[in-house]
Structure formats: structure tokens, C-alpha cells
């Protein structure tokens, strides 16, 4: 009996009737869920398609796929943006400041207390962090006309915190030293 009822439900006539009822109703077929989505039609109702293997247009699809890793920068005669590739290895200076995964110099500004306290943070330092701290403090004190500058060294995490906003200054300084 149940099988009989199922057969009645699935007749094309009844399906057509359902579609007609839906088209007579004011609310449209919302395709957001399985229940309200458009019913599958017989295959003849659909337009004919062809499946192309290795089509010439596939190069346009490949162009739209993102790279899986951050690409390595290529050597160029000039970099108009001011970005420079890293050249120093840290052999002569005794310390090394690594680039970030995006090939940028790891100098950041940290603002606290609604901009009242500004900290310049240099990250990813390896080697003699105290020598780098002396160098950076000298650069900052020179720009402050000899006034002292407060720094904090975190040897474990390889970070130097400098009181005040000297991000551009230190970034340019590190780039000029090849880091």
C-alpha cells in the first residue's frame, strides 16, 4: 500500500501540478534550502552540455587559483617602493634580524592607553641582542638630539621595545644595514 502511495506521489502529473501551484502562488521558489529548492526535472528538460578535458581556457582558471605559499621575491634592478631584499647574514655585526614571512622588516608600533604610550617593537632578533640594542639606542638618541631613550630587551623572545614612535627610523636603519 505504501509503495502504491509513493508511486502516486512520484508521477510526473503530480509533479507538474506542484510546479503549477507554486507558480500560481505569489511566493517565489527560494533556492536556499533542500526543501524549497527547484525539483529535479527529467534529463530532456536540461540543455545539452559538453565536458571539455584540458580545454585551452584552463589557463584562465589557473590564474585565479591563489599560490599555496608566499612567493619568493625575485631579484630586480630597482625597487621603486623602497622595499629591499635582505642582504646581511649577521656575520660581521654579531646579530641578525630575520624578515617576516611576508619578507618585511619586523619593526612595529604598539599604542597603548589611547595613544598615550607608543612603543616601537623590533622582533625576530637572533644573536647578540645587547649589541643590537646599543646600536638602535644610538640611532634613536641621535634623532632625539642626544636625549636619552628608554629601551627594554627581552632576550628570550628576541624582542627590543623602545619607548616612543621610531618605526620609520629604525626600519630604514635596519634596511640600510642589510637586514
Amino acid at each position: 500500500m505504501a509503495a502504491n502511495a509513493k508511486a502516486i506521489v512520484n508521477t510526473p502529473l503530480l509533479q507538474g501540478l506542484k510546479q503549477l501551484v507554486r507558480s500560481l502562488h505569489t511566493d517565489c521558489a527560494r533556492l536556499s534550502s533542500f526543501r524549497s529548492s527547484r525539483e529535479v526535472q527529467p534529463l530532456e528538460e536540461y540543455p545539452e552540455v559538453e565536458v571539455l578535458h584540458n580545454p585551452p581556457e584552463w589557463k584562465y582558471v589557473e590564474r585565479l587559483l591563489p599560490p599555496r605559499t608566499v612567493p619568493q621575491p625575485v631579484a630586480k634592478p630597482a625597487y621603486p617602493s623602497g622595499w629591499k631584499p635582505q642582504t646581511a647574514t649577521g656575520q660581521e655585526s654579531g646579530y641578525f634580524v630575520a624578515r617576516t614571512k611576508n619578507h618585511m622588516v619586523p619593526v612595529y608600533l604598539n599604542t597603548r592607553f589611547r595613544g598615550q604610550r607608543r612603543l616601537t617593537i623590533v622582533r625576530l632578533i637572533q644573536g647578540d641582542i645587547w649589541a643590537l640594542e646599543r646600536d638602535l639606542r644610538q640611532v634613536v638618541e641621535q634623532s632625539r638630539n642626544g636625549k636619552l631613550c628608554a629601551t627594554r630587551v627581552n632576550e628570550l623572545s628576541g624582542q627590543i621595545h623602545i619607548h616612543g614612535d621610531y618605526v620609520d627610523l629604525l626600519r630604514e636603519h635596519l634596511k640600510s644595514k642589510g637586514f
Binding site: 581556457e57 584562465y60 582558471v61 585565479l64 591563489p66 622595499w83 619578507h103
Partner: protein, 287 residues
């Protein structure tokens, strides 16, 4: 001093026998917890901060902004609708020319191909949120003097100086409209291809954006191409540079590549279905 040392020794001795400080034997500081019961009458009852008589005692809190009969402050001045329709306004997050040059210098975008929303979002450094009414990128003029790349770029908004900076280097810039659904697709094409849905048609701009995108001075994608080439020359004379001839350029094909106004991706037509697993394209059979 002897008695002091004695008590210290006692305390230390006691401390050695005590268990360690841990979560099981901690309790709140004295008087740090407030009693949530309000006593009445002899059980500590008084005014409890509500004062004597009137609306204060009855805790009759007036509605926000009500000034007990005065014309309230928020109604005292004429209405100026700064934010009228803010929930409908289109937002174009900025990208500066400097940022674009950094992307090019660090090899994050490929300038041997036309640049559009998908290129910028696929660099992984920029995102678009169409649900927050972000309709694409605008190119801003910061660092335009140091911009040296020859590119074919399509953005959603650009100022005159930016257009001049791109064209001075022999590049091509175009402003184009994408509806939110198209922006959603272009902001992560790979994820969208994985849905296995045919590429939809791109919608035409709404009525208030048509004027911008049909204007040749904005390099709109719906403008007359002949007027655009005329405006390129006009802008070159206005800003005082010699317009490089892109007709003679070896990359002429790339520089003049443009999408159809109803097309979403370069080289892929609406209605096609991309299968990333089998690397196939499903098309309508042409008879």
C-alpha cells in the same frame, strides 16, 4: 627582638605544615563579596541610596534624554542628516599606489596579467567583505610619484591623479562595477569553484552608479572607448607627460584585455562550470 623572631619562627613552622596554596583552599578576600539581600526595618533597613521622597525614592528612572519638561537637548536643534542612508552606501576599501608597488616589488602579484579584485585578494594580503557593503577597491594617490609599473588594472574607484600616474607609465586603468554576489565570488574564486555552480552573470550597476561608470574621465567600463582614448590624451596634456603608445607595446594583448560588462572572470564566460578536481570545463553544447 627575641619575641619577634620567635613569632616569625612560629609562623614559618606553621607554614611548613600547611598545604600548598591551590584553588581548593583559596577563598575570596574579606568584604570583597557584596550581600545581594536588602534588609528591611531593623535588619539594616534605611534609604539604601535612594534618598528621601519623590521620584528618586520611587526609583522612577526617566527615559533617556528627558529633561523634566524642558525641550530636550536632542530635539533642540534642526536635523542634519549626515548619515542618511548610511546602511545603503557602497564602501570601497582603499589601496594606495605605494601598497600596490610593494605588492609588485615583493612578487605578490603578477603584472604580466591583468589585475582585478581576484588578483588582489589572491595575494592573501587584502580581503573584501561584501556582507559589509564593500563593493571593491579604490586606488588612492599615496605614493603615486614612486609608482613605476606598467599594469592593466581594474578597480572600482580611482581619482584623476591616480589614473594619470598609471597611464604615465604606459599602463591601463579601468573602473568597473561588481554586484555584491560577484564581489563575493571574486574575493575567493577557488572556494567558489569548489561549490560546483555555473558562473553567474555579472549585474549592471545600480542607477546612482551608472553616471560614474559611463564617464570616460573615470575610465568607466561602460564608457565609449573612443572617448576614453581622447580623455587619455587630455589627461596627459593636463598633467604634462607624454602618453606612451600602447599600440606599439609588445604587451599590447595584455594591456588591452578587458572583461565584458556581464563577465566575471577573464577568459571564462557566464554559464560555464569549472571542475577543479577533474580539470574540466562544462559548457553548453553549441549547435
Amino acid at each position: 627582638m627575641a619575641h619577634l623572631r620567635e613569632s616569625t619562627d612560629k609562623a614559618l613552622k606553621l607554614l611548613r605544615t600547611l598545604p600548598r596554596v591551590q584553588i581548593g583552599n583559596l577563598r575570596p578576600n574579606p568584604n570583597s563579596k557584596q550581600n545581594d539581600k536588602r534588609g528591611r526595618a531593623q535588619h539594616g533597613g534605611d534609604k539604601h541610596g535612594a534618598g528621601n521622597k519623590g521620584s528618586g525614592q520611587r526609583q522612577n528612572f526617566m527615559r533617556l534624554g528627558y529633561e523634566t519638561g524642558n525641550q530636550p537637548f536632542y530635539l533642540r536643534f534642526p536635523y542634519e542628516p549626515y548619515y542618511k542612508g548610511h546602511h545603503m552606501r557602497r564602501e570601497y576599501p582603499p589601496i594606495s599606489m605605494l601598497q600596490l608597488q610593494v605588492l609588485i616589488d615583493t612578487n605578490r602579484i603578477d603584472i604580466s596579467q591583468p589585475i582585478d579584485i581576484a588578483t588582489l585578494c589572491n595575494s592573501g594580503l587584502m580581503t573584501l567583505k561584501p556582507a559589509e557593503l564593500q563593493y571593491g577597491f579604490q586606488l588612492t594617490d599615496e605614493g603615486l610619484d614612486n609608482f613605476k609599473a606598467k599594469i592593466n588594472i581594474e578597480v572600482q574607484h580611482a581619482s584623476e591623479a591616480v589614473i594619470a600616474a598609471v597611464e604615465r607609465n604606459g599602463g591601463v586603468i579601468r573602473t568597473a562595477y561588481y554586484d555584491p554576489r560577484s564581489v563575493h565570488i571574486l574575493s575567493n574564486p577557488k572556494k567558489w569553484f569548489e561549490k560546483g555552480v555555473p558562473i553567474p552573470l555579472r549585474m549592471l550597476p545600480p542607477q546612482d552608479a551608472i553616471e560614474y561608470y559611463t564617464d570616460a574621465r573615470n575610465r568607466g567600463y561602460l564608457a565609449n572607448p573612443e572617448e576614453i582614448s581622447k580623455e587619455r590624451l587630455v589627461l596627459a596634456q593636463k598633467y604634462g607627460y607624454e602618453l606612451p603608445r600602447i599600440e606599439d607595446d609588445p604587451n599590447y594583448e595584455m594591456l588591452t584585455a578587458a572583461k565584458d560588462p556581464r563577465q566575471l572572470f577573464h577568459g571564462l564566460e557566464p554559464g560555464w562550470l569549472i571542475n577543479l578536481v577533474d580539470k574540466t570545463i562544462v559548457k553548453l553544447k553549441t549547435t
